[in-house]
């Protein structure tokens, strides 16, 4: 930390508005950056001047008590909700000034699996998975055939059976909905992946499938992965740096994942 603190911030990190501050430099290409991020729900502090950084291709697990704000941290980190203060950057791009579609045009493809799925209720499984591909077909340079193939590949990877492809989420079990949400997030071939409580409510076989996919994403050098979970089995399996969210701050997790990842840092609020 100390040597890194001495280094000036890289110019492409979008931090030029705060030249007096010194932030540790990432070793690799910039991935996910949270720069002094504050967030609260009507005065209830969730994130307090939080700094966090993951290199491109880096992975981390966030743990914490129920209600401590793990999901909110993921929402903020994915750019789904704006922080009250501070900046969130994906690959050096500040998200606050970009419409979601403009992020895709800049090569930021986010896969987010929500605790409850967040599936579009009026679309069937196939349409849910192919919607983003259709919406961005020109940016992603996809034709109709590639689009369908990519959607089918994602559904098969998440082991959603073909019989369910034409069904709406309301007619599916919780486990299938969760796998469908995973397939939807995978279909766009994301380079930022956020997974909120991946195996909650899943049977062991489905949880195993989810763990395997997470391990593949972890090993992909193009994907920056952030997982919120309290499951020891998944934490052990992923073997990635772990952080505990407590009192609005991320602190390095003790135990198997005690060491912070290269280029990552966790700093108390000043």
């Amino acid at each position: 930390m100390s040597s890194a603190d001495e280094a000036p911030p890289p110019p492409d990190f979008g931090r030029m508005s705060q030249p007096s501050r010194r932030i540790s430099v990432a070793q690799g290409a910039p991935g996910l950056t949270l720069d002094r991020v504050d967030f609260d729900y009507a005065g209830h502090v969730i994130l307090a001047a939080m700094d966090f950084e993951l290199d491109k291709g880096g992975s981390a697990v966030v743990t914490g008590q129920n209600g401590c704000g793990k999901s909110t941290l993921l929402y903020v980190a994915a750019g789904l909700i704006s922080p009250k203060r501070g900046t969130v950057l994906h690959a050096g791009n500040p998200l606050a000034s970009l419409f979601p579609s403009a992020r895709v045009q800049r090569g930021i493809r986010v896969g987010f699996v929500f605790q409850e799925g967040g599936l579009l209720a009026n679309l069937d499984a196939m349409s849910n998975v192919s919607l983003a591909l259709r919406y961005h077909y020109d940016v992603l340079e996809l034709d109709e055939r590639t689009m369908i193939a990519q959607a089918e590949a994602a559904l098969e990877a998440a082991q959603v059976s073909r019989a369910d492809w034409g069904r709406q989420p309301a007619h599916m079990s919780f486990g299938i909905r969760k796998r469908l949400a995973l397939a939807r997030a995978l279909a766009i071939k994301p380079n930022f992946f956020f997974f909120d409580d991946p195996d909650v409510g899943l049977d062991p076989r489905t949880a195993q499938v989810t763990h395997q996919i997470l391990c593949q994403l972890r090993d992909d050098p193009e994907v920056t992965l952030l997982v919120a979970t309290n499951r020891p089995q998944l934490i052990e399996r992923l073997e990635v740096p772990g952080y505990r969210l407590q009192a609005g701050q991320l602190t390095s997790h003790s135990g198997k994942s005690s060491l912070p990842p290269s280029g990552s840092f966790s700093r108390p609020p000043s």
């Binding site: 579609s101 045009q105 493809r109 409850e116 967040g118 919406y135 961005h136 020109d138 939807r184 997030a185």
Partner: protein, 286 residues
């Protein structure tokens, strides 16, 4: 006890009562300011995102808009037909009661004028607000509760473009179309009503109805209906997005959406009529 309460109430410090009244007025003004700002922001972000680049986004949203127009206009035709036929019939019956056989030409003219200028745009907007406005606010509210809006954003889909803009466009297109249909059906209802009252009077009534049609009304009807439609889609979308994370907020916001959009429509309708005929046409009611 009641006397004691009255006595205590009478002891209230008038300066404190004035203070609380002032803070109440101030609070309401602040709330109105906040809502106006948020409403404006909803419209601006929807408009801005609608013109953002992206051929795929344009195609998806165009298909969505066409589907919304179908839901808002085509599926409302049966309801509009019933309401318009009976409104036209009732107005004609009342004219007949008031004017009798001597005033049939005037009755036809009054029906056409009143329906085209006032009743058709307003009643159509009320029907669209009650039918589609509720659906818009409820659907968006449920999407908020189920994290569908966040999911769309995570997929790189702009919620204002994907959700708000197609709904504003659909109501803006549907209200003028439905108003034309309403007017036609109302005149038909009047015609049928008169046919049953006195079949020989129909030609006289029809010539009056034709006289009631005036080109001066065309810009008024267009401005009115486009504005009324936009108001319904805009206000109802805004209240849908106002839903937080609790399902109990959905019916509350949906009800608020319909009430507020109806109020806005009635006020807008009156203002446009007064401005148009009072200032632009110089009070000459043709």
């Amino acid at each position: 006890m009641a006397n004691q309460g009255t006595a205590e109430a009478s002891k209230v410090d008038p300066s404190k009562a004035g203070e609380s009244l002032l803070s109440g007025v101030g609070g309401s003004a602040l709330h109105a300011y906040r809502v106006s700002g948020a409403l404006l922001l909803t419209l601006i972000s929807a408009y801005k995102s609608s013109s953002a680049p992206g051929e795929g986004a344009r195609e998806v949203c165009r298909a969505l808009t066409v589907r919304q127009i179908f839901y808002t206009s085509f599926q409302a035709l049966s309801m509009i037909s019933v309401v318009a036929l009976f409104v036209g019939a009732t107005l004609t019956a009342q004219s007949e009661l008031l004017g009798g056989p001597l005033q049939r030409e005037t009755a036809g003219r009054v029906l056409v004028t009143v329906v085209i200028r006032e009743l058709a745009p307003l009643i159509t907007a009320i029907i669209v607000a009650g039918r589609s406005g509720t659906a818009i606010a409820t659907e968006i509210g449920v999407m908020r509760v189920n994290s569908e809006i966040l999911a769309l954003a995570s997929l790189g889909i702009d919620p204002p473009r994907f959700i708000v803009w197609p709904r504003i466009v659909s109501t803006t297109v549907s209200v003028p179309l439905l108003t034309i249909y309403f007017s036609t059906m109302a005149v038909l209802g009047g015609f049928i009503s008169l046919f049953f009252i006195d079949a020989h009077a129909v030609s006289e009534w029809r010539s009056g109805a034709v006289m009631g049609l005036s080109l001066v009304d065309l810009p008024l009807v267009l401005i009115k209906t486009i504005g009324l439609g936009a108001l319904v889609g805009w206000i109802c979308s805004y209240y849908g997005f106002e839903v937080g994370s609790s399902p109990t907020e959905v019916p509350q916001k949906a009800s608020k959406a319909v009430v507020q959009s109806l109020m806005a429509c009635i006020i807008y309708n009156a203002v446009i009529t007064m401005v148009f005929y009072g200032l632009l046409v110089g009070g000459r009611l043709q």
